[in-house]
Symmetry: C2
Subunit: 209 residues, 2 copies
């Protein structure tokens, strides 16, 4: 039979010596860009929590008060606090997920306010990436403020290039700028094959939020 | 400017009346099929936990003892137990994630053993889907035992068709059989654009497992 083995992902020849932060991008029009980023954060949390390192997810287009399923679970996980022997210091034990936006849409009356929130949020995210205290920093839906011209792409690229060597960064959103794709280590395009919502099935609670 | 709003996913016209379980498929050769399924389970857990419903992830190609990051976190979440007012009954409060396989590869000496594990695992998963006590049942890497001919596709299709109306099922794996794609409500193809591992960067702990 001409058949492949299932993909295996456990090849650690030099797990200690070769630690290197990856730039991972989820783009495309399909579902799963953010949920795969949440899954990565979940996995990273499970792997690094005991070592006192944390993950942080910044959501550029969600409001700070968003209470989707993922917010509830990340809150449950945040409440577990630092593992024994690790302090609360350095700010890394705050919320795991944080909305930076104002629920923007193009019907908004005050685009400049949305743009300013994105810029303020980016400064937070930039400090988190450069500070080196996180195992992984996720920039969920970062591509939109970039596409809208709210954030300077050059500064984002420079931050990604200059980040500490072991910090993983995950970026999600449609139409990711080619300069970020070029810089990235791993890029997945999520392609829409079928979508229940387009077929007339209403959005389902617990699935879409 | 010809620019789209960020995708919004919150349109609940009749949140109570239109509850319907979706069949969601993540396929393709790219990364993120399983991690997006973990993200969906995380979201669903956060949304449904307080109502005493649970999610269950069956991993067809992972061993029961797998201790990747996601296993550690799902264990932390399982330890929170049922919310106040809900009993431990019905088996829905067991592990959130369960490996059904034996770490199979084509170098295995005992393929029949791997096939039997897949069949036994499928009976468990089938009972969970048909039992209706779960909000979401995830069949991670189900496509492989289907491709290998270990599981009867007809029985899988029949189970999916006959499941209780409100049970969500998520299937992941490469080369999903077209009959499942046809039946599915939402299908995303994860396409590999770039992969760090192929570029010679070793697999990173906390990212790949």
């Amino acid at each position: 039979m001409q058949i492949e083995s299932p993909p295996t992902e456990k090849r650690y020849e030099k797990p200690e010596g070769e630690r290197r932060g990856l730039l991972i991008v989820h783009t495309g029009d399909g579902k799963g860009k953010s949920t795969a980023a949440f899954g990565l954060a979940l996995r990273a949390f499970g792997r690094t929590h005991v070592h006192g390192k944390r993950v942080k997810i910044y959501q550029f287009m969600k409001v700070p008060s968003a209470r989707f399923g993922e917010h509830r679970v990340f809150e449950m996980l945040a409440e577990t606090g630092p593992p024994p022997g690790h302090s609360q210091g350095g700010g890394a034990w705050g919320p795991l997920i944080e909305g930076l936006g104002d629920g923007f849409s193009w019907k908004s009356q005050d685009l400049e306010h949305s743009a300013q929130l994105a810029r303020d949020g980016w400064q937070k995210a930039r400090a988190a990436i450069l500070g080196g205290e996180y195992f992984m920093v996720t920039l969920d839906e970062l591509t939109y403020p970039l596409i809208y011209g709210w954030l300077p792409l050059d500064e984002v690229l420079q931050t990604l290039r200059e980040r500490p060597r072991d910090v993983h960064v995950v970026i999600t959103g449609r139409r990711c700028p080619p300069e970020i794709i070029e810089l990235a280590d791993t890029v997945t395009e999520m392609t829409l094959v079928k979508h229940a919502f387009k077929a007339g099935i209403p959005a389902q609670r617990g699935i879409e939020d």
